[in-house]
């Protein structure tokens, strides 16, 4: 694969969809809201469910409880144990998955029209009546502990965790959502039930559906599936100010290539300059060969396989971050080039041609995100979590189009802070030392 695959470009802007998609707002008889795109061409429905809060709602001393809980939702429910649940799911050829991250618990389902009621009944058991058997807890705990060990020997994971700790300190964003070996080992069955009660409630629920289902049928489905969830969960944690010293932190680790993360303060989605910064980031660190970082660090100098940057907007904080890997004898030059680029763009801005190319790309790629029922359902639920209006897809490109060169260069001057650009380097980089 020639290109470095970018990790987290989407999700930030909640990936608006093809403007012609007709999104209906559905409210169930029981009052649960969802967005729906009817697509009857293929006899299945994709369902995406989100609970805001996620692993940041871990109780004190219980780090990892939400992740373990989400991983256990498919490990037994009602009168089914883990294996019976899997067999029931496979008999229906339904696809069910459960996950959590710093901002949400996620549930994804794809169900055939021919047995949708049975698939919904099964998923309902997982959401409403999971058993959290001790046997399953211990088994999945063992798997999570193994992953924690694995991350501790992976340079890029060490870089991410070190960077998060420096940026967010004691806030949940500052530590791994998996928890530590100590915290995960201490979790009890009661802790798992408590994590579910804290995170999976109707007051933080977002739902979308795309596929072969009518609004009326979706309404019934919503009440059946989600109506028996508790009304309220735990209060959301407060926002946190990300901290960037502008320094460099080296974590000594025996590996031939250094894993590097860098970042500076970001912008909120509600910031009036957000779209200008969004376009600016595309020019500096966007996907593809044409971005400045890729051009300077890879194409011109061969210092890395891939480098990119992202405006990261999470529920409780924002940052402007990037990452790459570069051999130990090249890492110093790679860091120097990135710091120079950051200062240069802040001082001198970008060109009209770069702006035009970025806008053409960003507006032209917009319809291409329409990429299957499951993908669209994911986009719709993300839009709801960002409080975007249902007609946002029709407006989104005009927000990009409205960005001028003056905007971008002013935002570069005002918001790119080379003196705050903070680096974490994991490896044995030559001529790179920790500096505050």
């Amino acid at each position: 694969m020639i290109r470095f695959v970018l990790a987290a470009v989407i999700g930030l802007l909640a990936s608006p969809i093809w403007a012609e998609v007709k999104i209906a707002e559905v409210t169930s008889p029981g009052g649960i809201k969802a967005w729906l795109v009817e697509e009857h061409g293929i006899p299945f429905t994709a369902l995406e469910i989100r609970f805001r809060g996620g692993t940041s709602l871990d109780a004190p001393g219980k780090r990892g409880a939400t992740m373990l809980m989400a991983s256990l939702l498919e490990e037994g429910a009602g009168n089914l144990d883990s294996q019976s649940f899997a067999e029931a799911r496979d008999d229906l050829a339904a696809k069910l998955s459960f996950d959590a991250n710093a901002d949400m618990v996620t549930v994804s389902a794809q169900m055939l029209t021919e047995n949708r009621d049975a698939a919904v009944a099964l998923l309902r058991q997982a959401l409403i009546d999971p058993t959290f058997d001790q046997d399953a807890i211990d088994r999945v705990r063992g798997q999570i502990l193994s992953i924690i060990d694995n991350r501790a020997t992976d340079p890029s994971d060490i870089a991410s965790e070190t960077f998060a700790a420096l940026t967010y300190g004691d806030h949940p964003y500052g530590s791994s959502e998996l928890g530590t070996k100590v915290s995960v080992n201490s979790l009890t069955r009661d802790d798992i039930f408590a994590a579910k009660a804290a995170t999976m409630a109707r007051d933080r629920l977002y739902v979308s559906a795309v596929g072969d289902i009518s609004p009326a049928d979706l309404g019934v489905l919503l009440d059946t599936l989600l109506g028996d969830l508790p009304a309220t969960g735990a209060p959301l944690p407060p926002p946190v100010e990300a901290s960037f010293t502008g320094g460099t932190t080296v974590v000594d680790f025996d590996t031939p290539q250094s894993a590097i993360q860098f970042g500076q303060p970001g912008l909120k989605l509600s910031d009036p300059d957000y779209y200008a910064a969004f376009v600016l980031n595309q020019i500096i660190g966007g996907s593809g060969f044409t971005a400045r970082l890729m051009d300077e660090v890879r194409e011109k100098r061969g210092l890395t396989y891939g480098v990119s940057s992202d405006l990261v907007t999470m529920d409780l904080a924002e940052s402007w971050t990037g990452g790459l890997a570069s051999s130990n004898d090249k890492a110093a030059e790679a860091i120097k080039v990135i710091r120079q680029l950051w200062s240069d763009v802040a001082a001198n801005g970008v060109t009209q041609a770069e702006l035009d190319a970025a806008k053409t790309y960003m507006t032209g790629s917009y319809p291409l995100r329409f990429d299957g029922n499951g993908t669209i359902a994911g986009i719709l639920v993300g839009m709801q979590m960002e409080s975007f209006p249902v007609d946002y897809p029709a407006k989104r490109n005009s927000l990009i189009e409205a960005v001028t060169l003056a905007d971008v260069n002013r935002v570069a001057r005002e918001r790119m802070q080379a003196d705050k650009l903070t680096f974490v380097v994991v490896g044995k980089p030559e001529a790179v030392t920790t500096s505050p």
């Binding site: 020639i2 496979d90 050829a93 992953i147 060990d149 290539q257 194409e299 890997a325 291409l368």
Partner: protein, 446 residues
């Protein structure tokens, strides 16, 4: 459910192909083969060109040249400046990329359907008119070395995988990594790249796949315009590679690295692949992989080792029969803390022995067939996957008929077929078994 080992894929039953009525095929007089897959739900198209040239076609000593050339294809042509290809695609809001594997190299773009003509013109241009400067080659060589450092050298699991493949294939080039051995990558020259390019990049060695909101007749006309005039390569010969001698002795490897946190046992067995008009054994092996180690809750290995005996964190099996030459059937087990690799391996072998003795669980077998039928529905949602099914099959010696027959071949597999295939393949005398451990905690291998 978690997977604890990054580098080891769990088994999946290879998903079936598109409905035949969605697919149109044609060939150009210069030998270029084409497949058009229609999906009119959105005005988007994926355009791919697959070359029957992969790392297993390289000359000895030139490992990595197939992949290196793939990178260099993004430099210029006689009429297109370096980088302009991607810049043009991006200007349309599109995405382009490429990949190289043992048996093929493929280039693709995904963009608005009304831009197909432009990318086809550019792809046809770089099939025959690439220009490489010495400087481009020198810098890009640094990039592929960084890629190797990132994907392989920084990952003990990937390094171990290279050693396993090298041990599995004594004579066949599948034992050489696609990205190349570092010492050989460092020596790859501009002339090596051009030699490779001139031999293999030609219409009679390429397959065109167009998937999305397109009219097959218009695609054909477009292909005639852009690919039609290209001259075929005269040097392309049948892909007859050095084959494996009979394996008479089990091979065992012991690998340790300070950065392996979770020890594991990996095993690969040399296994037959899908062949033209003869895909039955590969179909049976696809079921075998799913039954033995596909589902993390209900597969035989998970049931026995993770659930019942509680001696493993995870266990699985994998097989992908889409390969030009004999491939591998792989299994792995990651023991729970305190369990020795020797005991984990013995338990793994017991599961296999029990399967051979007791036969296939009927309910589980039927469940897999139900899922396969459902996949015919789910797969229509993603024509990109269908395009890959065709591309990989048509560059590994299979025909369009083989691709379209594959769902029926899978459905026709019986429980007896699975056991027969298991007996033929799961023989330790034809296997490589490797233990991966943390440096300092090695176990003595039996």
């Amino acid at each position: 459910m978690f997977r604890s080992i990054g580098g080891l894929a769990l088994a999946l039953l290879v998903a079936p192909a598109a409905w035949a009525d969605q697919v149109t095929t044609f060939s150009l007089p210069n030998g270029m083969q084409a497949v058009v897959i229609e999906d009119h739900r959105a005005p988007v198209v994926t355009h791919m060109v697959w070359y029957r040239a992969g790392s297993a076609d390289e000359k000895r000593g030139k490992s990595g040249i197939a992949h290196f050339l793939e990178h260099l294809m993004f430099k210029g042509t006689k009429t297109l400046a370096p980088g302009a290809f991607s810049k043009t695609v991006e200007a349309f809001g599109g995405y382009d990329n490429a990949f190289t594997s043992n048996d093929q190299t493929a280039y693709f773009q995904r963009l608005a359907a009304d831009r197909l003509d432009v990318v086809m013109k550019m792809e046809a241009d770089r099939m025959r008119n690439l220009i490489l400067s010495e400087e481009d080659v020198t810098t890009e060589r640094e990039v592929i070395l960084e890629e190797r450092a990132q994907r392989i050298d920084s990952s003990p699991e990937a390094l171990f995988g290279e050693q396993m493949d090298a041990a599995q294939y004594l004579n066949h080039p599948y034992g050489t990594p696609t990205i190349g051995w570092r010492s050989e990558m460092e020596q790859l020259s501009r002339q090596d790249a051009l030699d490779w390019y001139q031999l293999y990049y030609a219409p009679n060695n390429a397959t065109l796949i167009v998937a999305g909101d397109v009219d097959p007749a218009k695609v054909k006309a477009m292909a005639e315009t852009w690919y039609g005039p290209l001259k075929p390569s005269e040097g392309i010969v049948d892909r007859i590679r050095p084959q494996e001698p009979p394996q008479l002795a089990e091979r065992r490897l012991s690998f340790s690295d300070p950065n392996i946190s979770q020890p594991y046992v990996a095993r690969s067995y040399l296994a037959p692949e899908r062949n033209r008009g003869a895909q039955e054994q590969a179909a049976a092996l696809s079921f075998l992989a799913a039954l033995l180690g596909g589902n993390p809750q209900t597969s035989l290995l998970s049931r026995a080792l993770v659930f019942d005996q509680k001696i493993a964190i995870a266990a699985g099996a994998a097989y992908d029969g889409t390969s030009l030459d004999p491939t591998t059937f792989t299994v792995y087990v990651a023991p729970a803390p305190g369990v020795k690799l020797a005991d984990a391996e013995a338990a793994l072998d017991k599961v296999i022995a029990d399967l051979l003795e007791n036969g296939v669980d009927k309910a589980q077998f039927d469940r897999l067939k139900t899922q396969l039928r459902a996949d015919l529905i789910y797969r229509k949602d993603n024509v990109g996957d269908l395009a890959e099914d065709y591309g990989s099959a048509l560059t590994t010696g299979l025909t369009i008929e083989d691709v379209q027959a594959w769902p029926d071949v899978l459905q026709a597999v019986t429980e007896e077929d699975v056991i027969k295939a298991a007996r033929a393949v799961l023989d330790r005398r034809h296997a490589v078994t490797g233990w991966a451990t943390t440096t300092g905690s090695e176990e003595v291998m039996q």
